[in-house]
Symmetry: C2
Subunit: 514 residues, 2 copies
Amino acid sequence: MAAPPGRRRGGGRAARLSARAAPLPADLRPVRPGLDGGRYKVLDDADVIRIHTAALDALEQIGLANAPASGVDLLTGARAILGPDGRLRFPRALVEDMLACAAKAVVLPGRDPAFDLDVSGNRVHFGTAGAAVHVVDPVTLDYRESTTQDLYDAARLVQALDNVHFFQRPMVCRDITDNFELDTNTIYAACAGTTKHIGTSFVGPDTLPGCLELLYLIAGGEAAFRARPFVSNSNCFVVPPMTFATESCEVMEICVRAGMPVLLLSAGQAGATAPAPIATAVVQAVAECLAGVVYVNAICPGAPAIFGTWPFVSDLRTGAMSGGSGEQALLTAACAQMHKFYGLPGGAAAGIADAKLPDMQAGWEQAISNTMAGLSGLNMVYEAVGMHASLLGFCMESLVLGNDLLGQVLRCVRGIEVTDETVSIDVMKAVCLGGPGHYLGQDQTLKLMQSEYVYPDVANRMSPKEWVEAGQPQLLDQARARKEAILASAPHLLSRDLETRLKSRFNLVTLSHN
Amino acid sequence: MAAPPGRRRGGGRAARLSARAAPLPADLRPVRPGLDGGRYKVLDDADVIRIHTAALDALEQIGLANAPASGVDLLTGARAILGPDGRLRFPRALVEDMLACAAKAVVLPGRDPAFDLDVSGNRVHFGTAGAAVHVVDPVTLDYRESTTQDLYDAARLVQALDNVHFFQRPMVCRDITDNFELDTNTIYAACAGTTKHIGTSFVGPDTLPGCLELLYLIAGGEAAFRARPFVSNSNCFVVPPMTFATESCEVMEICVRAGMPVLLLSAGQAGATAPAPIATAVVQAVAECLAGVVYVNAICPGAPAIFGTWPFVSDLRTGAMSGGSGEQALLTAACAQMHKFYGLPGGAAAGIADAKLPDMQAGWEQAISNTMAGLSGLNMVYEAVGMHASLLGFCMESLVLGNDLLGQVLRCVRGIEVTDETVSIDVMKAVCLGGPGHYLGQDQTLKLMQSEYVYPDVANRMSPKEWVEAGQPQLLDQARARKEAILASAPHLLSRDLETRLKSRFNLVTLSHN
């Protein structure tokens, strides 16, 4: 193998490191939100049609039970058929009509417009999500209950991590028992920590009026929020298999009418609440989300919604969830391809680790599914970072490391530019025919250093010798130091004035700034 | 999110675990060597042609320097043109003619035919390779010099790890200083440890006669070795950019004439010994390997050779190699696609970690490039497991963990079966319409448990509660225990009689069995 010549050449190194240290304008950064994926297709085109057809059959023949009364009215009004068994069945033509009027592109705004997400086509965005109940401490190995302060810290970290593009609530504030306070504090802690787009769930329809009031206060009025709804609703509108989640549907109706984007989330588990064959699990998830599309567009045609086929996987030996498996990565990739088929903005889960700690297992589990999701062009990759123990634990150090992991995945999503310049052999000629015999000092090399190559923040690329000289730094120590450094200088992103008004109206937790 | 119902159902768990414990016939295993990849195409078809054309231009206009005298004779005899600058240039028609007669499928035999590798089409195989000079101890953090015993242990581990399909020498026996003894002991230790296909390098042409004698002794004669050459030659026949490695070319000539398959290995480093743009680095690697194809087929038309475009990546800030980067994964994926274009058996590097230890960084670095390689249908994925510090260190615990990682990658390569059964909604109907409302006990679920789902050996899927009850097992401890268990019972795979004959002829190291 050719020895790495760079290791022997100290000369240009300082200059190169210094050139790299200069900040890059956003448009020159090697990776960014919304890069085009889609070069990987796990399904043949014919397979996509077969899955689509089976999903339509399921909607026509099986339908969904347990719609709320308001939903029954809306859906039968739209031509769904209520059977004597209480199930709503969806004629094929109804589904096709609603697909035709469904929103094909959704913008998920940040509170800062620099973070707006254009969710359409093959554009890929990675972010947090989930409902972990624990925070994982990788030093003490403790799984302790997650708190509002943790949520705030996670939001502040995401604000500083370039490759995490949105902040959907990844964990539950377990220090709060009252439902309304849970929902309002979740919004408050997230908004105080980040101006990226936020996703949240609501406990039930009763908390919505107050939560909307909170959002309007933060936005500067209802009109301002409707113009730029920086919080969307992650809505588990179905309890798979093929059953509406009655209360969540009521929440969805309110959110859609309030102009809030909705993630239509079908979270079955293959082998448990969804069929065991991967293809059939996709059929069921697609059928359920198509029911969601009909529902949303029956409320308000063209309302912004994300097609949220989130089928999970069981370890069939135990029935326990296994979000870190290869089967999970395949499910997510197949879902992404179905989203493209419908031309709808779509999201699914990837990046889940079954590993309890941010160890090597976590690294490969998070990487495989995030890579497959990105290459598939999944628009919204949820749960992409920080999730451990099959979604039960969230880890801040892992979140920081996940930013590096996603940088690499995004580099892969960006792909290879084949242009006149990159297939020209001029530089090869100059180097080989009477030139220096290497490319280290070439203008082309220096130019590409900043725009084409992604460098990790925390991950270590030292040689063993450098590493020993540096005291053998351990990855988790570096991640923890980076986390603490970010939190030490992270701003509180609500003004003092607004903060006072919010606290006079709502019972909000006091958040610590570092 | 739907709660995982399996966690609440202890009933069928024992039965499911016991069903799973029954051994599976090889043809029913969910993953195996030679699964078809190729669903991911990092390049457009037009890009492939542009890269091919540029490579032909480079061969015609730049050519390669430093061929040995024998190579100059062979290649000019085949119509290559020797310039006054000492470079051999290759007319387009020559390259095309040699591509036409090159071997399109190669079988790399194992000493046990059950491990034969059919290297053709989109069939994917993962294995070790490299020239690490250290063994990494993840407990003491020590990078110590690698020995013949380490090589033997690594071979014995690979023999037991189903998802590692071949054993190319991953590290150098640093306890041996004599060149001939180095080459013979490398073959000996590898053959004593595994009956999977073995790859090795030779220090120079002088060691070859003795090494062939050793191989003939192990095979039971020259004819037996020629019939099933279970050792192939990993041959760095070029020193990029565009220079033949004189001595390695002489080794190649001997190996080809001896009927030994040759890996034509071009290991440039983008930004250092190869151009910095990813596409141009591929152009150069392809040009160099095409020169190798011409060379091999000038010696013996149709001789078995692997198209070994192994471009590596530099961290352009320092010039140091960064095998764990996203850019590396892209390079490898692009190379796989070029192999398909030529219809030649091909190999490249993936799975390299820059991480010094088997930590989370190592997990994502190994996973991203192995996933991309597998999905691209790369025939031979070299350096797929165990490699740390950008190839300088080999780690046994990481090798054991890598087997789990590759199991998951292979599951992704296998993809999703869309069949009449898997798009049938019959089971959904049975479950939803008057059925139990979940899929846990369905015949379909139980049937798929063994054949469709991959289970890790070492990776941990416990819930946090189970994990605490089990004493919070740490991944590296588990990996070390698994390593020791394998080595404790691993057989020595040379008979006592053969061993005696080998030792009477060669100066071989005494290997410890556990």
